[in-house]
Assembly symmetry: C2
Homo-oligomer: 348 residues x 2
């Protein structure tokens, strides 16, 4: 087939940044074929309450008003059950939890979940979604490092689901077979996002390649296969969350001897063509609509609007990803820069 | 104790490069406290025969004649049993095997060992040592990537030892508990080198940190612990091979979106103080002499010469590693640049 029409693609995990960088980045949601962006709150300072989230939403709408922004709060001690109800009334959709120190702007992340049980109880009643960065901090004493930080998190996911069975929980950017099997084994209130880049990368690809370094890191070939398999199967609780995470090029390209480069892979401006390319590569192109649109929309309760036009992709052999996107002094280099994707958006 | 005298430190795995870069690098063997260097043959082109090895040795001696250079050949189809005997007569000590494509200048590496059995038989008779880069190439079909490439190699080590029980074999730069246990389980003709940097690093340290990227990659905390334990135990078949591998700074510090940075960690100019610091950190300072001198010398048959002066280290709290070493247009940045080591060489 040479064209595909995808109804209402939705990216259920994306970083849109702030200030001048946001002015470049936020436009790429639409460019990549998406009209719904589930926006991460890890700004500096984090989006910790309803007022901040609404202010941020207004900023994003001023950049591109044609995208539907679903806002989230950053889980921190500042968050109270009262604030959850306030957030609900303001249309905020979820709360994102970052374990302390594991990724970009997570210094204020959580160390233990039990202190947040009153907040989770309020979220369960209000219908807010809990979004989990599913990694525990490294700890040599327990043999935990970036390679098994996700695996070590899964008992926390099980415990949270057991304690709050009606709370909708999303394990974000799963990277391992263990994570896929864990989510599969849990109830209908637990879902899982998968990024585009984790469908392409393994540990070999970020070894010495800072542009492919993100958290959680890509793992073994068999882990990548598990992500591909659950998409090919069409499992309704697994859907796209790109975790598209832009950084200024010098923070990715240049390494000092004493600290890591920025963690993140940037896919927003090429997202829908890239996902089509990848799904096609492992025989799952027929699952594209479910993976990028209906599964996530159903889980979150944002169904496709009546009469909404779809995004049309055309197969374009030889189509190459742009090397760089520039807006004034801001620039960003996408995943797969200069590589062939072979699909392009012809109606958006 | 404030000073330690180490008799005749010997580095049984080091990369000294060629041309102008070698002029900078080779002097660092002595600077780092070592008078014996077991020299890797992965130049461009590789050191494939006796004549090339002797020519290279003469080049190194012209840079620093005070170091004893033990030379090796690169295992390739060019190598014959006759050449092994010629190498033996010329004083060449070992043959290095690189699986194809797994590290710096390994494009001519081996794909299968059975074709080399006549060469190994000649080495066994002549008394040459087989040095193994113990990783298999990545292969998604068998779930092999940089994270388990060493583990997947261990059956090859067992098979080689079974086929040539009198051939001395060294598994180079072991990084995992599995590798340590494998070598431990084999006979007296099988030894193992351990680098300084693998005593310090885990996967967390090369994730997004190109300066710490080397092959084999550092693994889990428990793997690092296994390397430390076998040194603390004083096992005589485990000894230092630094795998010190310099690269021009721009090849380590700058990453393009489409290929990895150079693989290698550079420890030569700080090696003995660094090893003392690390062994002290895990309670093995009393094993320093065995690890950096007598174990390797005994295995290889290069005992400490009568009356040779030792190298004296002094504990110097606050001693910091230099940021950069420069010679004309050549420069190199060492491991732990700007970090505190706390030991320095006072008599060399």
């Amino acid at each position: 087939m040479d064209t595909i029409t995808v109804p209402a693609p939705a990216d259920f995990h994306v970083h849109l940044r702030q200030g001048d960088f946001a002015a470049l980045i936020a436009k790429h949601v639409r460019k990549g074929g998406f009209k719904l962006a589930y926006v991460m709150p890890n700004l500096k300072p984090p989006i910790a309450n309803t007022d901040q989230a609404l202010f941020y939403k207004a900023q994003l709408e001023s950049i591109d008003p044609t995208v539907q922004y679903l806002m989230t709060l950053y889980l921190s001690p500042e968050l109270t059950p009262d604030e959850i109800w306030k957030a609900k009334a303001a249309g905020i959709v979820g709360v994102k939890s970052y374990p302390r120190g594991v990724t970009t702007n997570s210094d204020g992340g959580i160390e233990s979940y039990e202190a947040y049980y009153p907040v989770f109880a309020a979220m369960q009643e209000a219908g807010l979604v809990l979004n989990l960065h599913g990694e525990v901090p490294s700890n040599a004493a327990s043999n935990t490092c970036v390679l098994n930080a996700e695996h070590a998190f899964l008992p926390h996911l099980r415990a949270l689901h057991a304690a709050f069975p009606r709370l909708r929980i999303v394990l974000e950017h799963a990277t391992s077979r263990a994570a896929v099997e864990c989510v599969r084994s849990l109830g209908a209130t637990v879902a899982c996002t998968i990024t585009a880049h984790h469908l392409a990368l393994t540990a070999d690809d970020w070894a010495g390649q800072s542009w492919h370094f993100c958290k959680p890191v890509a793992k073994f070939p068999d882990d990548r296969a598990a992500l591909q398999e659950v998409i090919r199967e069409g499992h309704p609780r697994f859907f796209l969350g790109s975790d598209s995470a832009p950084h200024p090029p010098h923070t990715k390209a240049t390494a000092a001897p004493d600290h890591p480069c920025a963690a993140g892979v940037y896919t927003s401006p090429i997202l829908l063509p890239l996902v089509a390319h990848l799904l096609e590569s492992f025989g799952a192109l027929d699952r594209l609509e479910g993976f990028v649109s209906s599964h996530g929309r159903t889980f979150y309760g944002f169904p496709i609007a009546e009469g909404e036009h779809g995004v049309v992709l055309r197969k374009t052999p030889g189509k190459v990803v742009e090397e760089k996107f520039i807006d004034g002094e801001q620039s960003v280099i996408p995943f797969w820069a200069g590589r062939e994707i072979g699909w392009e958006i012809v109606e958006n």
